[in-house]
């Protein structure tokens, strides 16, 4: 019956007492991360639902608001995020190989690209603020017939991109932690779970943007779909 070792004589690096071995712990962490991403899908899903309903309800207003989205910044930001996903995946790869220095380099690069994204997002928000496109009492809109609808759509824009940006900020914090951990030699080719997990998170945030970008910036000027 003792076909498992309860407490391996030498605890592998980072192995918690309640796991049998590192493989079990890694699998658990990975599964846990994916379950967490599942909740994230539904979290954004609620807003995608609201977006879908209103876009379907007010196609004309969508056509109108899309002209006020900064397509240049949106496109650049998409590129920036894809680059950051690329550097992230390289960081994970370096960690797998136990290369401390390149792990740190790629993590730092990811962090920088994330910050570039957030900075551009800030510029975009600032533009919206100058144009009185923030929903609320100060909201102004050029085409009066779409005033209310545009306000709802800008509300959704801010809610969706704002929550996305919040996830980016959290991600930046996590990356910083990783960089510190890596520089303190906490990772090895045997144990680099945090890098991998935060990598998954970072890619997920990237995917959210991959969908936000066309929905908010690109397809506004086409007419309605479905009914």
């Amino acid at each position: 019956m003792a076909d498992i070792e309860t407490h391996p004589a030498a605890h592998a690096q980072g192995l918690k007492h309640h796991f049998d071995d590192s493989a079990q712990q890694l699998e658990s962490s990975t599964l846990g991360m994916w379950v967490f991403l599942l909740t994230e899908i539904m979290f954004f899903g609620g807003m995608f639902g609201g977006y879908t309903v209103y876009r379907n309800m007010y196609p004309g207003a969508f056509a109108s608001t899309s002209q006020f989205m900064n397509l240049a910044i949106g496109s650049i930001n998409t590129g920036v995020l894809i680059c950051s996903s690329f550097t992230m995946v390289l960081a994970v790869r370096a960690a797998q190989l136990g290369k401390k220095k390149s792990t740190i380099t790629f993590l730092v690069l990811t962090l920088i690209l994330g910050s570039v994204f957030l900075t551009l997002k800030y510029v975009e928000y600032y533009e919206k603020w100058k144009d009185h496109h923030i929903p609320g009492p100060g909201f102004r809109y050029a085409e009066p017939q779409y005033f209310h609808e545009a306000q709802i759509l800008f509300f959704l824009y801010f809610a969706m991109t704002g929550l996305h940006a919040l996830h980016m900020i959290v991600g930046a914090g996590l990356l910083t932690t990783l960089i510190v951990m890596a520089s303190r030699n906490r990772f090895s080719a045997e144990w680099y779970t945090p890098v991998e997990m935060i990598g998954l998170y970072w890619h997920f945030v990237d995917i959210v943007w991959i969908f936000l970008f066309p929905l908010l910036y690109l397809i506004g000027h086409t007419s309605s779909w479905g009914g």
């Binding site: 599942l38 639902g49 894809i82 690329f86 990237d206 690109l218 000027h221 779909w225 009914g227």
Partner: protein, 100 residues
């Protein structure tokens, strides 16, 4: 760790695909295709998302359990969107013939 490391070349290819798809979607959006702008944009977004999930997030080599959970996420998202929309899209329908 039993995981074999993926080559930089694979990652770079995926990365270039993603950039190319982004350029395509931006470009296509400048062409008036009517209803199809939406279809094209969403198809490209799904392709990009799949690339990231499949290669960067390594679902490709992940366990079937991971794949199951990814599928579950998409399935439930579909439930939410389809059933909410089912109300809005059928609201305008006139009451049907008295088939009873």
């Amino acid at each position: 760790m039993t995981h074999k490391v993926v080559s930089v070349k694979t990652y770079a290819t995926v990365f270039l695909c993603l950039i190319a798809l982004t350029a395509t979607t931006v470009g296509v959006s400048r062409i008036e295709l009517g209803e199809y702008n939406f279809v094209v944009a969403m198809t490209i977004a799904v392709m990009k998302g799949s690339l990231v999930v499949w290669f960067f997030m390594d679902v490709r080599r992940g366990s079937s359990l991971t794949k199951l959970f990814v599928g579950a996420g998409l399935f439930w998202l579909a439930i939410l969107l389809v059933f909410v929309l089912s109300d809005y899209l059928s609201r305008g329908w006139l009451p049907g013939p008295k088939w009873w």
